[in-house]
């Protein structure tokens, strides 16, 4: 009997760490806060986001023409974001491919505590083709309850209801294909 109890204690303590993240994930989906950005100057970015407003005018992140949106919180200064940049470019390419016949999946980046110059430098250094915006005063980072960079926040935009966050990945993802699959699984029509 004594050994059975000890077995149980060992088994439970070994697997406890795996139960905690599962509990955290159960909190999803949660409402996507209202975030306002400026219509970008780059016409390709404007078209990608499905925006028609004048450059420099405000738009809501909820108006982005996508079924599923990923918001990447990054910083030009963050070595992990730098390391992750090629994988994020790969994710973007896969998103474009899958959006041709499946749900429309898009991505934007928010440069946390970065100036526009720093965001542009990050974009140029890693040849990032999707739109990046500066979140210099960290307003959006705070609204999204950001904890660090990089963070990837998956949102379901078009389900007839209020846009919701369905996925939060703190740190880099191991595989862009797996991450995209999980994103579509959680962000697609329910």
């Amino acid at each position: 009997m004594k050994y059975i109890v000890l077995y149980l204690v060992l088994v439970v303590s070994l697997f406890l760490p795996f139960f905690v993240p599962a509990a955290e994930k159960a909190a999803m989906p949660m409402p996507l806060p209202e975030l306002v950005l400026e219509v970008p100057e780059n016409p390709r970015h404007k078209e990608y986001l499905g925006l028609t407003g004048k450059t420099g005018t405000d738009f809501s992140i909820r108006d982005i023409d996508a079924d599923i949106l990923v918001i990447e919180l990054f910083s030009m200064y963050c070595p992990y974001c730098q390391k992750e940049a090629p994988a994020v470019n790969e994710l973007f390419a896969k998103m474009r491919e899958i959006s041709k016949n499946g749900p429309v999946v898009k991505i934007i980046g928010l440069g946390v505590a970065n100036s526009q110059f720093e965001v542009d430098h990050f974009r140029d250094t890693y040849e990032i083709a999707f739109p990046l915006f500066a979140d210099e005063d960290k307003t959006m980072f705070r609204a999204l309850a950001g904890e660090g960079t990089p963070t990837f926040i998956g949102c379901r935009l078009k389900d007839g209801e209020r846009p919701v966050i369905v996925l939060r990945q703190n740190g880099g993802f191991a595989s862009s294909a797996t991450f995209l699959h999980e994103l579509i699984d959680k962000g697609g029509p329910q």
């Binding site: 000890l6 070994l14 200064y77 963050c78 730098q82 390391k83 100036s115």
Partner: protein, 199 residues
């Protein structure tokens, strides 16, 4: 028999614990290792040098294992000295990774960058490794403690350095000085503008 099974389970448990532990270590991030000292007094020293004056010469050991002397660049390169307060602290731990992808701006203006802290070499070695490989020299002003930082007037009363940049021309003359609020990273565009403004 029961005892043997119990010992076997203990063995498996310990093996798994090592595997899980190693996995966590591999996923450990720079951010997880950072000590946050909280909000600090923005500036806690007085400059001992001024724009237009010769930059005090120094020789300091680098993490790469060589001795770097400021005057070795005279007549060859402009030099930017980047003092940061301490290893393993916020802001400092991303300021240099930012400069690490900004090499082109320094090269465009025939400048090199020297990073300096008052930490010792083993500490800097671990910190720099965690940041990734840096293209510029990282120098230790550990002993005599903060002597170079003090010569420039950026040694704080707690023995750390200010977050400061000194822009030195090819003649060894200080052309610009930026002593930032220690809690705030100077924007990259400011560094680039001051590089461009150096004669």
């Amino acid at each position: 028999m029961r005892q043997k099974i119990f010992l076997a389970v203990i063995g498996i448990f310990l093996d798994l614990a090592v595997v899980v532990g190693n996995g966590l270590a591999a996923n450990d991030t720079l951010h997880d290792s950072i000590y946050n000292p909280g909000h600090l007094k923005p500036v806690d020293s007085s400059l001992n040098v001024a724009v237009g004056e010769p930059a005090p010469d120094f020789s300091l050991p680098s993490v790469a294992g060589r001795e770097v002397t400021l005057s070795q660049y005279r007549g060859k390169k402009k030099v930017v000295l980047s003092f940061v307060p301490a290893a393993w602290t916020p802001v400092c731990s991303d300021q240099w990774p930012g400069y690490n992808i900004s090499r082109k701006y320094f090269e465009e203006h025939n400048a090199i960058l020297l990073g300096i802290t008052v930490d010792n070499i083993p500490t800097l070695h671990a910190w720099v490794r965690q940041m990734g490989s840096l293209w510029f020299d990282v120098l230790s002003d550990f002993w005599p403690h903060g002597r170079v930082a003090d010569a420039y007037g950026v040694l704080r009363s707690d023995g750390t350095a200010e977050r400061a940049l000194f822009f030195i021309d090819t003649e060894g003359v200080i052309r610009d000085i930026v002593v930032s609020d220690i809690n705030v990273r100077p924007p990259l565009e400011e560094v680039v503008a001051k590089l461009a403004a150096m004669p």
